[in-house]
Structure formats: C-alpha cells, structure tokens
C-alpha cells in the first residue's frame, strides 16, 4: 500500500476501483439472497454498513491491545455482537423488512467483507481512517446491491421500491414479469455481467489466469 492515502481516497477507492463485491468478490451470499427487491437490498446495505463502520471503529480503538493469539476471536465476537444489536433494532423498528431479510442479517457476522476489512485495515489504522474505510467499503457493497436489486425488481416485478414502473399484464398493462429475475440464479448472471462490464471499462482489474491448459498455444508460446 502507498504511504498514507488521504481520507477522501480511502472513502472513494472502494466504490468502484476497489469495490469489495466486484473486485474482491466478497460478501456474495447476501448480495445474491437479498436483492430480489430494492427495499430489502437497501435495508441490508444499511445494516451491513452500520456493522462495518462500528466494528471497524471498535477494533481500531483497541487495536494496540488485541493479543495476536486471539485476534480473530476478538474480532468475530465484536462483529457478532454488533450484528445481534442491529438485528434486534430491525426487528423492533422495521419488523416487516426484518421478516423478509430473515437469517441474512445474522449472516452479516460471517460476511467475509466485514472480517476482511477489520483484519486487513482496522487493525493497523487509527479509528477515523478505519471508519472511513469501512464506510467506503459499505457504500461500495451497497452500490452493487442497489444496482442488482433495482434490475431484479424492475424486470422481476415491474416495480422500483414498490412503485409500479412497468404495468404488468395482471394489472392490465403490457409487461410480463420475468420470474427468473426473482430467483437466485439471476443474481449470479447479473453479478457476472456487472463484473465483466466493470473489468471491460477498467482493464487493470482483470486477474491473471492462474492456470493455462497444456495445449493452450498462448501458454506454450
């Protein structure tokens, strides 16, 4: 890493250039599961960003005193507790959405994105920088989820955030909803398409091939 990048670049880098989902392919489970509608996607994003920022802050505060031997346990315990708190808050104040998100809020605990940021960044940086980095990563994750959620809801149900945009046949309109969009595979296709689109625009994100088949002329050349 270059010497102390500015707060601004820490915040902006993870949005697209270092996007945790499309570049690092982290946190996919929830990205696939909760993007059937924008409402659930946005709630999940808010929950994940909140957990990410708070855990980054907490871990950064005690970073000099975390014994190496138990550092992962300490981080997981902090993350898990924050997740439970957020889950309880959702169940209290956003009950219907929390029913839809069901187990995925609890699964933020195991979201590699959270542990990835606390382990690689918060443990070595002061609280403010850690929290800005966490916010950037949370927003990067949110950006991808929002895009996928919007596409899936628009073509799967003809609506955006619950507002009917395309009148469906059932309601007397012309649009036949694509049921595939509401199923998990469509999230894979869309995410794949998104990764491809971003890497076409930013070729430096393309990874080296890890394996060349023996009869591949390019490899033997």
């Amino acid at each position: 890493m270059s010497a102390t990048p500015s707060l601004r670049s820490i915040l902006i880098a993870p949005l697209i250039r270092q996007n945790p989902v499309t570049l690092q392919i982290l946190g996919l489970c929830s990205a696939l599961a909760v993007t059937t509608s924008m409402q659930t996607a946005l709630t999940m994003c808010a929950a994940l960003t909140a957990v990410l920022v708070m855990s980054a802050g907490l871990i950064s505060v005690i970073r000099r005193h975390i014994p190496d031997t138990i550092r992962l346990i300490v981080q997981i315990v902090i993350v898990a507790s924050l997740v439970i708190v957020i889950d309880q808050i959702l169940q209290a104040y956003l009950f219907e959405i929390s029913q839809k998100l069901s187990v995925f809020v609890s699964l933020i605990t195991t979201n590699c994105l959270v542990l990835g940021r606390t382990e690689s960044f918060s443990r070595h940086n002061p609280p403010l920088r850690s929290m800005v980095d966490a916010l950037g990563n949370g927003l990067g994750y949110s950006l991808v989820l929002t895009v996928i959620g919007a596409i899936r809801e628009l073509f799967g149900a003809g609506s955006l955030l619950g507002w009917q945009v395309l009148p469906t046949v059932e309601q007397g309109g012309w649009f036949t909803p694509l049921n595939l969009m509401l199923m998990a595979p469509s999230a894979f296709f869309l995410l794949g398409g998104l990764v491809w689109a971003i890497r076409s625009v930013l070729p430096e994100q393309v990874e080296e091939l890890e394996y060349h088949s023996p009869d591949d002329p390019e490899a033997s050349a």
């Binding site: 005690i62 975390i66 138990i70 924050l82 708190v85 808050i89 169940q91 209290a92 009950f95």
Partner: protein
Amino acid sequence: MADLNPVTAWRRLLALPNESRTKTLAMAFLVALVCTLMVTGATVILRPIQTANRAAEQQARLEALISGVPGMSHLLAQDGGTLSTVVVELNRGAASNVTPATLASALEDPANWTALSAAQDLAGLGQRPKYAQVYFLRNVAGDLSLVLLPVSGAGYNGPINAIVALRADMNTIAGLAITGQSETPGLGGRVEEPAWLAQFPGKQVADASGAVRFAVARRGASSDYEVDGITGATRTSNAMTRIMRFWLGPDGYGPLIDAIQRGEF
C-alpha cells in the same frame, strides 16, 4: 503487588506485552463483557416493541383471513373494535391453555378427539376435537360485540366449512360465511351466494327454553328461527340445518355459548 488502585492496575494491564497470558485472558474477558452488555441491553430494551410487533402481525393475519371471507369484512367494518383469537375447550366452554400456535399439534393427539355417537353426530363428523379456535370481536369499550365460531360438517358432496358470527347475546346470528364447500354448482353450491347468506343476519338460534330451533326451512321461512331453503338442494339445506344445530347445540359450542351468556368472557 498490593497496589489496589484501579487506575494504576488498569495502566499496568495495558502496559503488559500483548502476548502475555494475563493480558490475553484479561482482553478476552473484557471484550466478552462489553459485548455481553451490548447484546443484553439491546435485547432487553427492545423486547417489548418486538413482542408488540409480533402480536400486531398475528392480528393482521387473522384480519386478512376474516376479511378474505365474503360478508365478514362488512360485519367487521360495521362493528369496529379489535379481534382476538381464543382456543376454547368445547366441553367446559372455557378458554383452554392451548394457544393458537400449539393448537395444530394438540389436535394431532387422538386423545384430544371425542368420538360422537350416531344420535349426537348431527353434522356427520364422526368425531369432534376437544379444542376449537374462535374469534372474539370487542368494541372500543372492551365489551364483546361479535363472536365468530368456525363450524363444519358433511354436506351433500363433501364437507362444508363455515364461520357463524353471533351477536353478544349469543342468540342472534350476525352473519354466516361459507369458507369451503363442494356442493353441486348451481344447486347446493348456492349456499355461497350472498343473496342466500343475506337471510342469516337477525335470525334467532334458540328459543326461551334454550333448545336450538334454527333451521333451513323446506319452503319459505315462517319464523325468526328459519331461513329459506335452497330450491333443488334439499340435502344441502338439511346439511346446513344439522351443522348449525350440532355446533350451536350442547355437543358443539353450547357450553361456550352458555358461558358467554353468563358473562364469563
């Protein structure tokens, strides 16, 4: 070693190398303690709101169920108030300790079913559950305004399921909704027609002696206890009579109706 000043003890702890066993244990303990406080705090503070949410959801589900039944939504809109679900023990006519959530599992136990003798079994059920889930509608003042009793029995082609709504006097019918039937379309199937069901509101169930008099008449209704029969569907009409007489009689909701009339609910 006898320095018990907490501030210096704390400083000494922080100054220990991270790898020391004391500090590892202390950090593990402190992190666990702080996290425990966070989690317990959130759970305890938010629990009342969550409980209210769950209750509201159950209520909404019930209202959706009831308002999905034609005729009932109109009754509810007219009477207003709040709807509650109660599981009653039919023999005692009192609320049972079975909850709506555990009712399904309680009814899986054959011990909770009573076989009906041929003389008792007006509705052609064969056996009757010990518990039934009923709905009470209370007005703003908290008084019972409407009782919804699910009933069922054998029709001509298959079982007929319905919900009878009784006024608070437990003798005046407020309405009937058919929730399931497979009678002959156009004949017995007309039990579902709003025009036929519209006769029920205002009819009386039992006479002064307490005997259930309600009936679907052969021809035209001639008293407060009767509704018109359905032309060409004598068997269905009779089935409706027997279902109503069974469930509103002593082997059905009779004890509950008595208890409500005594003011026990």
